[in-house]
């Protein structure tokens, strides 16, 4: 799935031409590289009052703990001598009125041109709550529109995302810092213009936690893992230390075996729509790997048809695989207490489930349904100290999108702030993040991996 236009304009011969013609200028994104620093330059923390032990200070101290070069801009004093910022973190958790945004916002603006290629802007704010006064609610909600607009302004692979603390959560909590870490890192390459709500979550003991292998000792099951996004999820979870059970239909067994052998996991040939799918998954994970901590509902199919022409089988198959199977499998695991402690469930939604798509009434229904059950499941697994989240990919370069005709494919690729399609690994990174113990506190969320697609939120 080569994006030859991107190759040509990113340092290629036609770069200047594309610039003069005002054509999209996507760049090769900065992705996870364990040997590279977390961000491509020093980090500027904007917000907070001078000499106060406030949230901005807590964030800055956490960043220092990650061995980053951190500078703080308090009030309107901005440090000099930095050519390119690797990231700018804007902490506005303590803003009470719209006027309180003035200083940090304009400080960010003044530094924006100095943001490195594939740099990061991350806002840390508070989510609007039910008890907020109108002014407080306006201030907090306003950050969302501001953040999404900043994301659209950035160029050269830079992204802007927000950590939104919900009541009870602190800026220095592990979950908030895990989200901040994810947004700063190359793992979030194709996540842009997104706000992630972070709650306090259950207490999590980070003793002995190895950030380079966050899933060490965890057993993960990935459905639909024979190819595409599912295979990449398996690779990414294994890279992060998990023992992986890859699941796909028996007919996909050859590719599934190759994935299993690559990630040194086990292959389970299984149709997720089978009545006993949940029981068989659990039996395999328990007997062979000793537990089940992470469940990634990735299996999904397309049967695109205008509703006016939809045949019953086309509707039924999509609902059965994309939605009903997830409900039945998770339901069984919860009913029999099959999950090991603090389970993390991640389901594949889709931007089609958020914005809708012509010819995809069945798919849109199933994927919006996934978002719905994710919120409800989050409440059920909270009792276990676990989380349930969804990831909604936008245009991802897979065999599936490669089959879209040339012109619509090019249009779909460019219709995002990053002006390119994402890679399967981008979705996998988001899933791995939501599957990691550090993300406890992030639950019931839908994280879009869409390069800030122009459609939907």
């Amino acid at each position: 799935m080569t994006d030859s236009y991107l190759k040509a304009v990113d340092g290629g011969l036609v770069k200047g031409l594309a610039q003069r013609l005002g054509l999209p200028q996507p760049v090769v994104l900065r992705r996870h590289d364990p040997s590279a620093p977390l961000v491509p330059g020093p980090v500027l923390v904007v917000g907070g009052r001078p000499d106060a032990a406030d949230d901005a200070d807590a964030v800055a101290r956490a960043l220092l703990g990650w061995d980053l070069d951190v500078r703080q801009a308090r009030g309107d004093a901005v440090p000099e001598g930095v050519e390119r910022w690797g990231a700018i973190v804007v902490v506005v958790t303590e803003a009470k009125t719209p006027e309180d945004l003035h200083d940090p916002v304009l400080a960010l603006g003044a530094q924006l041109r100095r943001l490195a290629r594939c740099g990061r802007v991350v806002t840390v704010s508070r989510a609007p709550g039910d008890g907020d006064s109108p002014a407080l609610a306006a201030t907090r909600a306003g950050v969302e529109g501001f953040l999404r607009s900043v994301a659209k302004e950035l160029r050269a692979g830079a992204t802007a995302n927000g950590v939104q603390l919900v009541a009870g959560a602190g800026a220095g909590d592990p979950a908030a810092l895990a989200a901040l870490h994810f947004f700063l890192s190359g793992r979030s390459a194709f996540v842009d213009g997104q706000l992630l709500e972070v709650g306090a979550g259950p207490a999590w003991d980070a003793t002995g936690f190895d950030r380079s292998r966050p899933l060490a000792g965890r057993v993960a099951v990935v459905t639909g893992a024979a190819r595409g996004i599912g295979a990449e999820v398996a690779r990414t979870l294994a890279r992060d230390g998990a023992s992986v059970v890859v699941v796909d239909v028996p007919a996909a067994g050859e590719a599934l075996a190759a994935v299993a052998n690559e990630v040194r996991g086990t292959a389970l040939q299984l149709d997720v729509t089978a009545d006993d799918a949940g029981a068989r998954i659990l039996e395999h994970a328990r007997s062979r790997h000793g537990g089940l901590h992470v469940l990634v509902h990735n299996a999904g199919i397309l049967r695109d048809k205008l509703l006016a022409n939809m045949r019953p089988a086309q509707w039924d198959a999509v609902v059965a695989v994309n939605l009903a199977a997830q409900l039945r499998i998770t339901g069984h695991l919860l009913d029999v207490g099959g999950f090991s402690e603090a389970p993390h469930i991640v389901s594949l939604a889709s931007t089609s489930g958020i914005a809708g798509n012509r010819g995809q009434t069945n798919y849109g229904f199933s994927k919006a349904g996934v978002i719905g059950h994710t919120r409800a499941t989050a409440r059920l697994v909270a009792a276990l100290g676990g989380t349930a989240n969804a990831v909604a990919p936008g245009f991802i370069e897979t065999d599936m999108t490669a089959s879209i005709p040339l012109v619509p494919r090019q249009v779909a690729r460019r219709a995002s702030s990053l002006q390119q399609g994402g890679q399967p690994v981008d979705v996998a990174e988001a899933i791995a993040f939501l599957a990691s113990p550090g993300s406890t506190g992030i639950t019931g969320q839908v994280l879009r991996v869409c390069g800030q697609n122009l459609v939907g939120r």
Binding site: P250, G253, L256, A257, N261, S287, R288
Partner: protein
């Protein structure tokens, strides 16, 4: 049908270990963890461009993936192929090197015609029982699509002589001996070297000797297709087969086969036998097939350490050979001899089994074997028994189909049968709560035959 009291059942010995019966040394268990094969393809079908090594490697890779054996150093991998290129002298070792197993896993090739796969299982199981290895894979592959084609004996001699020649003149002299007929290639033949008869023609003689009817053969063939189709539909093969090169089910399987269709086929073997109506058709004979299979065996401790399932244990095996050249026994009748010897060693009767897996080289092979065991004179004169060995409950025979439907890639059949029998035995035991026992028999070219006893074995300590 003659009936004679069968030897006393040894159910009471269910709790016994491998051996324990008279004349069987007591050893630790060799257990069957599971199996994997690729779907079997018809000759010239989906695997037309696949080599034995490609197929056996694929069978190994599926097994490795199923049981998480990546990087594992196994005790040994044993297998082979019947139709084999000379360059494949280390077929199994080369397959191991191309797999995800540890390259430190030893391997050797074994060949015993159609019994190659089962003999490989026996070999690995024996080493495990003796404590020489903790684990091993047994299997085999065969392709008739990618079969070796050799040069004629004349050309071969000329080429060898030319390669040894020390001068151009001598080389020219060597080539001068070449005759046009020497240039015709030699295709591999499965005909019996000592009789010149094909296996089918041999079996036609045996079929006639035992008076096996066309209807009875077609019924076995139909059951094979129906049973195999039902097994596929029920998901039985979900953890026994990994697709290969776009083939997801056995290509030879005809789920819509019917007695009428089978009855309409023209006999292909035995047409020149005097005084008998030919009855063996393409429908009730096994087609030429490509495929590969592998079975994972281990000691109980090895399996337990890796949290692997235990389906069954290999109790014992017996190989027999018959004199079909100078004697009067049928080419494929060796299992008829192997089974009673095996049963005697364990004090078992023919009826003491929950499952029977009798390889369908031809539908009539199964029927002649069963007829022989029911025949008092034959059992006395040929097998040295006091009376008939007995009969079996046909509802327990090849319950999930056999080679007529699945196809028979020679060396791959043993692995297919053993994995199927082990899984069936484990399921039967789980159902009934008691040990389930399976009898496996595979006939082979050269008048060979191997029989084995497999018993369900729950995970845990030595039985």
């Amino acid at each position: 049908m003659a009936t004679t009291p069968e030897p006393a059942s040894s159910r009471s010995e269910d709790a016994g270990a491998s051996g324990g019966a008279a004349g069987v040394p007591r050893t630790r268990d060799a257990v069957i963890v599971g199996g994997n094969r690729i779907p079997f393809a018809r000759a010239g079908g989906k695997y037309a461009a696949a080599s034995n090594q490609d197929m056996f490697t694929a069978a190994l890779e599926g097994l490795v993936a199923r049981f998480g054996l990546q990087g594992e150093r196994l005790g040994e991998v044993v297998g082979g192929a019947v139709l084999k290129h000379s360059r494949d002298f280390n077929l199994v070792r080369e397959s191991v090197l191309g797999s995800s197993l540890s390259p430190q896993t030893p391997a050797y090739d074994l060949q015993q015609a159609c019994a190659t796969g089962l003999e490989a299982v026996v070999s690995v199981a024996n080493k495990i029982r003796l404590g020489q290895v903790e684990s091993g894979i047994a299997g085999g592959a065969d392709t008739v699509s990618d079969a070796p084609i050799a040069v004629s004996e004349g050309l071969r001699r000329v080429l060898l002589e030319a390669s040894h020649a020390r001068s151009t003149k001598a080389r020219v002299a060597a080539f001068a001996k070449l005759r046009p007929r020497d240039l015709a290639p030699l295709s591999p033949s499965t005909d019996e070297p000592r009789t010149g008869l094909s296996m089918g023609e041999h079996q036609a003689i045996t079929t006639a000797r035992w008076g096996i009817t066309r209807e009875a053969q077609d019924a076995v063939a139909l059951a094979s297709h129906r049973n195999l189709a039902a097994a596929w539909d029920s998901g039985f093969f979900d953890d026994l087969v990994t697709p290969f090169r776009g083939l997801t089910r056995d290509q030879n399987l005809r789920p819509d086969s019917s007695a009428e269709k089978l009855a309409s086929l023209r006999p292909v073997f035995g047409a020149r036998l005097e005084g008998t109506e030919p009855s063996m058709t393409a429908g009730n004979s096994t087609p030429l097939t490509d495929g590969a299979s592998a079975v994972l065996l281990a000691s109980r401790a090895w399996a337990a350490e890796r949290h692997l399932p235990v389906l069954a244990r290999v109790v014992d095996a017996e190989t027999a050979a018959v004199d079909y050249v100078h004697g009067h026994e049928g080419l494929l009748m060796a299992p008829a001899h192997a089974v009673p010897r095996l049963l005697a060693r364990h004090g078992l009767g023919l009826g003491d089994f929950d499952l029977y897996e009798i390889h369908e080289a031809f539908a009539s092979t199964v029927l002649t074997t069963l007829a022989a065991w029911e025949d008092a004179d034959y059992c006395r004169e040929e097998l040295g028994l006091d009376g008939p060995l007995g009969s079996i409950d046909r509802d327990r025979l090849n319950v999930n189909g056999s080679s007529v439907a699945a196809g028979h890639p020679f060396a791959a059949t043993g692995g297919r049968i053993v994995a199927t029998a082990a899984k069936l035995a484990a399921a039967r035991a789980a159902e009934t709560g008691r040990t389930a026992r399976a009898l496996v028999s595979v006939c082979a070219a050269g008048g060979l035959g191997v029989a084995a006893i497999i018993e369900s074995a729950a995970p845990g300590t030595e039985a």
